[in-house]
């Protein structure tokens, strides 16, 4: 009853206002004008209101408006998101033209937070927003690449340049060991979803539990909220953007030897250990002189420059009741490696219909289809390692067939990768539809019911084919492996949102329930015995194998949040979420995720308000809990997997140990933050945080002698502590000239605790240790001590211990077997971030952005094949770094051992571990906004031309391909290990943007 009283009260107040408005309408004045930006271009969609009155209008397509003011003393307020508000007294004017300055810190900016929107002032959490040019300087198929170096505390790692590949994103380090470590993606307020980067209006990154707590169990890795474009008031607006360019492979410091270089390097194999001289006669006998003149560059032949195209067209607008946005885009990137590429078509419609002032319905549909050609690891491997003395082409210019019986072929495994590439195909196709239905019912002025629902359906198909013509395992038989998946999901979020204010108190919030379900069905098969020239399953004649499975997962949640502020100075946000999941046993399915945040907007205090230099001063603090359950289904059950056969009969193999106590992993997050705005020129955000993930979902090592590697348990803690700084400045700002700078810095340190016995993970002989007090992804390998100047033998560190296990001596040894594995560094950077600057004069602007990373250690695994002291005389070798040297005689201080005495020198050790620090010039772009008078003569609203270059240069000591090395733990991939990779791309693009 109390509530309804309040609502009546509010309603009555509003009514009084309206009546007053009507009453004073006698003395009204009609004012016309135009709102434009500093460049003179009209700005549509600006809200123009008479101060103290509820009436208002919106500027039209070219920025023009007309409004009726009450009197000459009235003040007109011009407001637009992203611009500084302007106020003008009407006076006797009938025409008021206003120029809006783009705001660096728009404290009234509305930030999309997922379940609700908040004014920036209201936010108590660490939140970053990116939009517009700052987001889209880089052309990419994914938003992750666009975020690199731009948000403090967000690590974006592009470890592969393969077409269609997406980077790994880590927010505030790594909070989980077993579950996915990337952020939760929310599109248009609903968890999950698909989008095209062209349709993205803004990206919000939620970094602390004050904000992510709302997403409870799915938010351990942070949350990225994607907001797609919506129609704006005014006439229909059309935007067209075309980007066209070329990309080339960027192998960094990795260069393979030329024919002559490899020839000369091979002489070292013939050095006599006694005399120290090279037995040149034997060398020429076994490596004929003409080899020196054979120089086939495998890398240049397998890679080429490739075309990138991106076209985008959209129409948007808003009529009285109907807001619409239609966007379509086509993206096509050819791969730099032969026989690879990726293309994608995306269509989106976002529409909102207001049935009445109380009821509106949004329907958003996204359809995307993509197709790509990917690559086989072995083809890359052999491209780099084939010896430049071998010519892969026959007399007709076709790739030559080579096998173990081919004579005169020098390369080790007798494979011609170009021949394999020409006779194989690895492709994927993906089709996906999302439909969002969002209903808003304004029940009263203070209470709204929102139902947000999405259904998604997708299908994916992969095709891997080796013709019977290829050399190797599949010769004469071929191999075809196809699989397709059908996946569908549904999510429904139903929330009541309320908001009231009385006097200086304002309270708002939401409460409701959410349901999520996903299903997928996989079907695949493979077989051999293919006739040459055919590549569909129907022609398979032998070794048929089928596979397929259905999976299902369910989650349900209760969600609530309350926001309170007093006098727009003191803010409090509290949220509480309960999640239930099918991933855990019945007794442990539900978990609670509370969060609280407070902030003090000091700049709104009377003693600071109106201060000319201090625009913003805000202090924030949050505490909250997020969780993780996403380790895959059924992990608590004891299972015998029916995945095998013996003698053509069904076979079940021991697969998993049961754990009926398995439950949620939870991260307790604390954050302190400061937001500062000075002279409307400088904004500074500083955040410090301390996150502790407890009850880590971990596959706890079992003695292998029980027949299982591990059992899922909740064990141990992972602590992340860090500091984040974002600084944006407007260094110069005049009517025609502007110079801005942005710097981001993120530092993170993690530490494991409570695990007990260390867990070791080994891939390709490289071991990483997870132990109490240790950092994630720490290499645990023998330490390399260089070369013994006396003998030319490799040296490792031998550790001698007493009976109690204490180290009593560290000494060099040439016996690899005596070298003890020890911690030699970790794969995560100590700090990272980016900086950028932009200069604009009239319509011309030039900008550059950089990303940097410091302190990560990389295991440069490819050197185990291409820097091997003669162990592999028939693999091409990498060109050595200038300060490398080879031991040839006693007394030599060398980095590389004698080829004759190099036993086990290439075994895993810190020898190939390198500093992965880098500074990368991510993007340079030059753009020109064609002046309005020319544009209008062309009957356009806007025209922009731009040239840009991405990934232009990297400063690093790392002697390999790109120092951005995977942070992902997957099949054959270990964080910090640089295996053979599809090289990164350097690209040069031209863009035309037209608005009409």
């Amino acid at each position: 009853m109390k509530m309804s009283f309040k609502s009546i009260h509010v309603f009555l107040s509003l009514l009084v206002c309206l009546l007053c408005g009507a009453f004073v309408s006698h003395a009204q004045v009609l004012i016309k004008g135009k709102v434009s930006g500093t460049d003179g271009q009209g700005i549509p969609g600006v809200s123009i209101a008479v101060k103290g009155q509820s009436t208002g209008v919106i500027s039209g397509a070219n920025g023009t408006y007309s409004i009726t003011a009450g009197s000459t003393q009235d003040t007109l307020l011009f407001r637009m998101m992203g611009y500084l508000p302007v106020s003008r007294v009407t006076g006797n004017h009938t025409e008021i033209n206003v120029k809006l300055m783009a705001a660096l810190t728009d404290i009234n900016e509305v930030v999309v937070m997922g379940y609700d929107d908040k004014k920036r002032t209201e936010i108590t959490s660490a939140v970053s927003v990116l939009s517009g040019k700052r987001l889209k300087d880089v052309t990419a198929n994914d938003v992750g690449t666009m975020l690199q170096g731009k948000v403090a505390g967000v690590q974006v790692v592009n470890s592969s340049g393969a077409p269609g590949s997406v980077p790994d994103i880590r927010i505030r380090g790594i909070a989980s060991l077993s579950a996915p470590k990337g952020p939760l993606v929310v599109v248009d307020g609903i968890i999950g979803g698909n989008y095209d980067p062209g349709d993205v209006a803004a990206v919000t990154v939620l970094k602390d539990a004050g904000a992510t707590g709302m997403y409870g169990s799915q938010a351990n890795g942070g949350v990225i909220i994607i907001t797609t474009k919506k129609g704006k008031p005014g006439a229909p607006r059309f935007d067209f953007k075309a980007t066209l360019g070329r990309r080339t492979p960027n192998d960094g410091h990795l260069n393979m030897m030329s024919g002559n270089g490899f020839f000369n390097a091979s002489k070292e194999l013939y050095r006599d250990t006694l005399s120290g001289k090279i037995d040149i006669l034997k060398f020429y006998n076994e490596r004929p002189r003409e080899l020196a003149d054979r120089n086939f560059n495998w890398v240049d032949n397998a890679f080429h420059s490739a075309l990138v195209q991106n076209y985008y067209l959209s129409a948007s607008g808003k009529t009285d009741k109907f807001t619409y946005y239609l966007g379509g885009s086509y993206y096509n990137e050819a791969g730099t490696f032969k026989n690879t590429g990726f293309q994608r078509v995306n269509l989106r419609t976002n529409t909102t219909y207001e049935f009445s002032k109380r009821v509106s319905v949004s329907n958003n549909i996204n359809i995307s289809a993509s197709t790509g050609k990917t690559y086989d690891y072995m083809d890359l491997f052999y491209t780099y390692l084939s010896v430049p003395w071998d010519n892969p082409y026959d007399d007709t210019g076709s790739p030559r067939y080579v096998d173990a019986n081919t004579k005169g072929w020098w390369s080790r495994d007798k494979i011609n990768p170009l021949h394999t590439l020409a006779n194989s195909d690895h492709s994927t196709k993906d089709f996906n539809i999302n439909y969002d239905f969002i209903g808003n019912i304004k029940l009263t002025d203070w209470l709204t019911f929102t139902s947000s629902n999405r259904v998604g359906v997708g299908t994916n198909k992969s095709h891997s084919f080796f013709s019977p013509l290829v050399a190797g395992s599949y010769h004469g038989k071929g191999l075809l492996d196809e699989s397709s998946s059908l996946y569908y999901s549904g999510i429904s979020t139903n929330l009541f949102k309320f908001s009231f204010s009385k006097g200086r108190h304002a309270i708002s919030g939401l409460a409701g329930a959410e349901f999520q379900g996903s299903w997928d069905e996989l079907l695949g098969g493979q077989g051999k015995g293919l006739p040459v020239g055919f590549d569909v399953p129907a022609v398979i004649s032998s070794e048929q194998q089928l596979r397929g499975v259905r999976n299902h997962s369910v989650m349900q949640s209760l969600i609530s949040q309350v926001n309170y502020n007093y006098a727009e100075k003191y803010y409090l946000t509290a949220s509480y979420r309960v999640d239930g999941t099918s991933a855990f046993p019945p007794t442990h399915r539900y978990a609670q995720f509370p969060a609280i945040g407070v902030s003090w907007l000091a700049s709104n205090e009377t003693f600071l308000k109106g201060n000319p230099w201090l625009n913003l001063l805000k202090l924030r603090a949050t505490y909250g809990i997020t969780g993780m359950q996403d380790i895959g289904a059924y992990k608590y059950l004891g299972l015998f997997s029916l995945s095998a056969q013996y003698n053509s009969q069904a076979a079940a193999i021991p697969d998993q140990l049961p754990n009926q106590n398995l439950t949620w992993e939870k991260t307790h997050q604390r954050n302190l933050g400061l937001d500062l705005g000075l002279w409307n020129r400088v904004t500074l955000n500083v955040d410090v945080y301390s996150n502790v993930t407890k009850d880590l979902l971990l596959q706890v090592s079992q003695p292998l002698s029980v027949g299982f590697e591990s059992r899922w348990e909740n064990v141990g803690q992972l602590r992340n502590k860090g500091l984040e700084i974002t600084l944006s400045t407007v260094n110069v700002k005049t009517k025609n000239f502007q110079w801005t700078m942005d710097v981001t810095f993120g530092m993170n340190k993690n530490e494991l605790a409570g695990i007990g016995k260390p867990v070791y993970q080994t891939i390709n002989g490289i071991t990483q240790i997870y132990r109490d007090g240790g950092e994630l992804y720490t290499f645990n390998i023998p330490r390399w001590l260089g070369v013994d100047p006396a003998t030319g033998r490799p040296l490792w560190e031998q550790v001698t211990r007493d009976n109690a296990g204490n180290i009593i001596k560290r000494s060099p040894t040439s016996d690899y077997g005596q070298a003890e594995s020890q911690e030699t560094g970790h794969a995560l950077p100590r700090f990272q971030g980016g900086f950028g600057t932009s200069v604009s004069w009239k319509g011309i602007s030039l900008s550059a952005s950089f990303a940097y990373s410091q302190g990560a250690q990389i295991m440069n695994f490819i050197r185990r094949f291409m820097d091997v002291d003669g162990h592999e005389p028939y693999y091409n070798q990498m060109q050595p770094k200038s300060d490398w040297s080879r031991w040839t005689k006693p007394g030599d201080i060398a980095t590389h051992p004698s080829m004759q005495k190099a036993a086990l020198s290439t075994e895993i050790s810190s020898r190939y571990q390198e500093d992965g620090s880098f500074i990368k010039l991510r993007n340079v772009s030059l753009s020109y906004d064609v002046p309005m008078h020319i544009v209008q003569r062309l009957h356009l609203q806007g025209l922009r031309l731009a040239l840009s270059g991405d990934n232009l240069y990297t400063w690093t000591k790392f002697w390999g391909q790109d120092p951005e090395v995977t942070v992902n733990r997957a099949d054959f991939s270990m964080p910090g290990v640089a295996d053979f990779r599809y090289p990164a791309n350097r690209q040069y693009l031209g863009t035309v943007e037209i608005n009409f």
Binding site: L269, V554, Y634, A650, A652, S701, P703
Partner: protein, 506 residues
């Protein structure tokens, strides 16, 4: 009134949520608790035990096509011996078998240890659930017997790889014995003697239970007895070895291949009456280049890596009798024009074909674990221990008669330049070459391993150092003494770290 409507709506939404069922079960697995509850559960799990002897499974986070029991079974035996020469340095840990530079963290021993115990877990599941069935049928008893057999088979192979031979150190550390699925995870290694006794007891039990032979693809009474004859020999228990061998030979179920038949025996081992127990592989099990046993020792140019060859040592032993049909499985790669044997990295290529050509596939075979010829040779060696010259040589001649050496029988006469044991062991070496016996036969008889030929077992060897005209000198590793600690492998690092009771090998 209005309030009531909202409340109603709100309540509806809240009520809607808990209605969904959060219990979801996998579609492709048996829940352990219900294995015995489905009609095919027990046979499925038993088949799973056999399947794991050949399949690649997830280990350390991914499925490595090069990690499977069979392939590694041969890496730890013959690659460390003198029958196979290493023709190429490789990053793969199989290389350490040649060089004796083992480490506790090499991936192949870790997988082999793991998969062995995984199969043991499956076998124990069959035993535990099977023995709960009241009045079991013959078919169920057969299954339980097979489970006992596999449990023994796996423990025995672990013993050979990770523990010193019984003849050298019966009271030294053996292996961890897993008797039930609920054994304490932390458990010490039993002594070698206790381990062998455990294996013997399992095999006796297996022999007593199995009465419904299902072909050489599955364990049988005779498979258990045949293994007993070998294991008693490893224990130097000649009488029991002879008795067990007699039981197999006299069962009449098996017959030696003729000389002609032996030339294709390994291609058709499943159908052959010489086979007692083998790991059956079908066309779909062909593991290609990455994981087939044949891949390292044979290539048709494409099918395999073809990096390890029949050694000069075994070829020398066989060189006396070019007519020996066992040469059929040593195939030199010759230049068709000149007839010169091709070399890889300076080492002559003599491919080994015992693991190829089932169904014509160069990578497919059903590796034979036990065949009648071995049982004869087990008995021959046991007779030799007892000094029974006639018995020993009669068994050796029985083999030679079936291998194209009718003209070179011993007829009860030990050759002048050899002892009886040497004669028996040489026959065993030639007959069972590359089949996972030689290394163990050498060390259990306290003989040294001599590899005085060129190959990449010689540390730091470069192709340019190879000179086939003279034998290599001055390299470490030419002779490995029988009591060298490196003749056995390290217990995998994972076990040592997670099982505090388990002691590492020196």
């Amino acid at each position: 009134m209005i309030i009531k409507k909202w409340l109603l709506l709100f309540l509806c939404l809240i009520c809607m949520a808990p209605a969904c069922n959060l219990s979801v079960l996998p579609t492709d697995a048996l829940n352990t608790e219900n294995v015995a509850g489905t009609p095919d559960g027990l046979p499925n799990v038993m088949n799973g035990c056999y399947a794991l002897l050949k399949n690649n499974v997830m280990f350390n986070g991914f499925i490595d096509p090069g990690q499977n029991y069979l392939w590694q079974y041969y890496q730890f035996s013959d690659y460390a011996g003198d029958d196979i020469v290493c023709g190429q340095v490789t990053e793969h840990p199989l290389f350490y078998s040649f060089t004796y530079t083992h480490s506790p963290d090499q991936s192949n021993i870790r997988f082999f240890w793991y998969i062995s115990y995984k199969i043991i877990n499956g076998a124990n599941t069959v035993i535990e659930l099977g023995e709960k069935i009241p009045n079991p049928s013959g078919a169920v008893k057969q299954l339980i017997g097979e489970a006992y057999f596999l449990r023994a088979f796996l423990h025995f192979n672990l013993l050979r790889v990770f523990a010193r031979p019984y003849t050298q150190a019966p009271y030294g550390p053996g292996i961890i014995l897993r008797r039930t699925t609920t054994d304490d995870a932390v458990a010490p290694r039993a002594s070698v003697k206790d381990s062998y006794n455990f294996v013997v007891e399992d095999l006796k039990k297996a022999a007593s239970l199995m009465d419904q032979p299902r072909g050489s693809q599955y364990a049988s009474k005779e498979a258990a007895l045949g293994y007993l004859s070998r294991i008693y020999l490893y224990m130097n228990d000649a009488d029991n070895a002879i008795a067990s061998a007699n039981a197999v030979i006299n069962s009449g179920r098996f017959k030696l291949e003729s000389a002609e038949g032996f030339k294709t025996y390994f291609q058709k081992a499943i159908a052959s009456s010489e086979s007692i127990f083998l790991i059956a592989q079908r066309k779909v099990d062909s593991r290609g280049k990455e994981g087939s046993v044949a891949s390292m020792v044979y290539s048709d140019g494409n099918s395999g890596w073809g990096e390890e060859f029949a050694s000069p040592s075994i070829r020398k032993v066989m060189s006396e009798h070019p007519e020996d049909v066992r040469w059929s499985y040593i195939l030199p790669l010759k230049d068709p024009a000149t007839g010169v044997v091709a070399k890889k990295n300076g080492i002559e290529i003599y491919y080994i074909t015992k693991f190829s050509f089932q169904d014509g596939d160069p990578n497919l075979s059903s590796p034979v674990m036990l065949r009648l010829a071995e049982v004869y040779l087990n008995r021959a060696e046991a007779y030799a221990i007892k000094g029974n010259v006639a018995g020993a040589l009669a068994d050796v001649d029985e083999i030679r008669k079936h291998r194209g050496l009718e003209g070179a029988l011993y007829n009860g006469q030990v050759p002048r330049n050899k002892s009886l044991q040497e004669t028996v062991l040489q026959e065993r070496r030639i007959e069972l070459a590359f089949e996972g016996h030689r290394t163990f036969d050498v060390y259990r008889n306290k003989l040294n391993m001599v590899r005085d030929y060129w190959g990449y077992h010689l540390p730091g060897l470069q192709e340019t150092d190879v000179n086939l005209a003279v034998p290599p000198t001055g390299y470490a590793n030419i002779t490995i003494n029988w009591n060298d600690p490196k003749t056995i492998f390290y217990i995998p690092v994972d076990e040592i770290l997670a099982n505090s009771a388990c002691k590492q090998n020196p």
